[in-house]
């Protein structure tokens, strides 16, 4: 059982602050690190894996700082986001080299086991240079878990994987977590985190915007005011009908479209069709105006 702890950690590059005074602890189970691109997820993960020094604060694995302590890698497996893997090695040679460099007892058996776990046996004798993006991700994962680490850190592990491979990887991570391992993975896709992790850390602009149980954070995300843009054959009549509905907080007519704000996402989506029928209007377009992850995260930060 290992835990990663960040205490008031900041990291800046010149005048740019990439991570700003972040504190949290990651223990056994699966934790998702969620945030838009450029939020500081990779910087955080690299500090946790001992590849970057914090400018302030401290990152520890149990009671040992991660920075400049290569011994931690007996306990830690790391999957980088970058695709680069030695192109001249076959998948099996790469995983076997990792096993040998870890100094484990039976590297060949551990290699076979790791390749089997990521479902890459058929391609393991081919050079990595010819692998697809998804296959590279899987061989990286195999190399990172060949020494059976207690802590696994994965930076955007599902990038490039097809849906079947994603499901397989999710099952693998779940089964590793059920054995008491600490697994931390980053993603900018809400659904990935939702499906896999019980605990989530939300990072926005280098700051920890939210942390804790995913369902609670998801509720914060869905209960926020939503804004929709609607175009119809009769926007004015539809606007009147919608305004009569209690779920609707405001309706604005602008740029030949309706902008509708609601505090109850579900109720509004049910009310729109009814209101359109009442107003005798045909719906031409209906789209959420603020559903980007960035807007969701900004809302969380304001909270």
């Amino acid at each position: 059982m290992s835990a990663l702890t960040l205490a008031s950690v900041s990291r800046w590059y010149g005048n740019v602050v990439a991570v700003n005074d972040v504190s949290f602890e990651v223990g056994p189970g699966i934790t998702g690190l969620l945030g838009p691109n450029g939020a500081g997820k990779t910087t955080l993960l690299h500090m946790m894996a001992g590849f970057l020094a914090p400018s302030a604060g401290e990152v520890r694995l149990d009671d040992q700082p991660t920075w400049r302590h290569p011994a931690i890698y007996r306990q830690v497996g790391f999957v980088p986001e970058r695709e680069a893997v030695y192109p001249f090695l076959t998948g099996r040679q790469f995983v076997l080299a990792s096993a040998r460099l870890q100094g484990i007892d039976d590297p060949a058996a551990a290699t076979d086991r790791a390749i089997e776990m990521v479902d890459l046996r058929d391609a393991s004798k081919r050079a990595i240079g010819g692998y697809s993006k998804g296959m590279r991700q899987r061989v990286k994962v195999a190399a990172s878990l060949v020494h059976d680490p207690g802590v696994l850190i994965l930076d955007e592990p599902f990038n490039g994987m097809d849906p079947r491979q994603r499901l397989h990887m999710m099952d693998l991570l779940r089964s590793m977590a059920s054995e008491g391992r600490t697994i931390l993975f980053s993603s900018h896709i809400l659904e990935e985190v939702e499906r896999l992790s019980d605990r989530v850390l939300v990072v926005v602009a280098g700051r920890l915007a939210a942390s804790g149980d995913f369902r609670r954070i998801r509720r914060l995300m869905t209960d926020r005011p939503h804004r929709f843009t609607i175009r119809s054959s009769d926007d004015r009549a539809l606007g009147r009908a919608l305004l009569a509905h209690p779920a609707v907080e405001a309706v604005e007519l602008r740029d030949n479209a309706l902008s509708v704000r609601t505090g109850d996402y579900g109720a509004l989506t049910r009310a729109i069709a009814v209101a359109a029928r009442e107003a005798n209007a045909s719906l031409l377009e209906l789209r959420p105006a603020d559903e980007s992850l960035e807007s969701v995260f900004s809302y969380l930060v304001r909270r």
Binding site: Y13, T42, T43, L45, H46, A49, F51, L52, A53, R68, P70, A71, I72, Y73, R74, V76, G77, F78, P80, E81, R82, A84, V85, Y86, P87, F88, L89, F94, A97, S98, R100, L101, Q102, G103, A143, S144, D155
Partner: protein
């Protein structure tokens, strides 16, 4: 562990077309030695020409060229493409990583350089192996110094290849040639001192004694090695560039 580290390093270097093209530079020197032998001339002329060919082109151009390409690629290319993370994410002392990589790079540069010196020496002098052997050993000494310096340079800057080539042309080629006082800091002069001591027939006249040349070569290589270890211990991988 050491064998795996060495094997991955060697395969990475041999996989680069640039490294294999360096064999051609050695072949070029052997070709020039053969052509000079075909030309009319006395044995003394041939010995003099071959010695100059090995000293000026061999130690001054061929060896540093091979060393700068191999030395800067040994760790530098892995830092550049990000694959170094697979070595740094292992519980291996950074000193061991640098040591294994430096030895492999040195052996490869020696293997790509020394045989060309030996063969050129034998052909150029009409079958006498002494000059070739002296230069082959000197090339191995020079290779150690050049390779370690360029390996350390690749950990200090991402433009190690360009800076290394500039160093070879400006410092080794121009400054050390014009100003006698700077020769104590010239890798080429260190290697030349070794060749002079081994050949021992007056064909080579080194500016430095073999003792100083060897001491400087080992000292500079040790300093560069220590610098490289220190740098690898503190190198940061940001994720976007590594």
């Amino acid at each position: 562990m050491i064998v795996t580290l060495a094997a991955v390093t060697l395969r990475g270097l041999l996989n680069r077309r640039r490294t294999l093209l360096l064999v051609l530079a050695g072949v070029l020197m052997v070709g020039v030695a053969a052509l000079s032998r075909l030309a009319e001339g006395t044995d003394a002329d041939a010995l003099q020409f071959t010695a100059r060919l090995l000293a000026d082109f061999g130690l001054g151009v061929l060896l540093p060229l091979v060393a700068v390409i191999v030395g800067t690629a040994t760790i530098g290319s892995e830092l550049e493409d990000g694959t170094i993370i697979y070595l740094l994410a292992k519980p291996i002392p950074r000193l061991l990583i640098v040591a294994v990589k430096a030895v492999i790079a040195w052996l490869l540069v020696t293997l790509l350089g020394s045989p060309a010196f030996l063969v050129s020496g034998v052909i150029g002098t009409g079958g006498d192996a002494d000059l070739g052997i002296a230069y082959a050993v000197a090339a191995a000494v020079g290779a150690l110094e050049y390779t370690t310096v360029f390996l350390a340079l690749s950990l200090l800057t991402s433009r190690a290849l360009v800076i290394g080539l500039a160093y070879v042309v400006i410092w080794e080629g121009v400054v050390a040639g014009l100003f006698a006082g700077t020769r104590i800091l010239s890798v080429r002069q260190h290697a030349l001192a070794v060749a002079d001591a081994l050949a021992g027939d007056g064909a080579i006249t080194a500016e430095l004694s073999v003792g100083i040349g060897l001491a400087m070569a080992i000292g500079v290589a040790a300093l560069a090695f220590a610098l490289a270890v220190r740098r690898l211990q503190t190198v940061e991988l940001r994720g976007d560039t590594a």
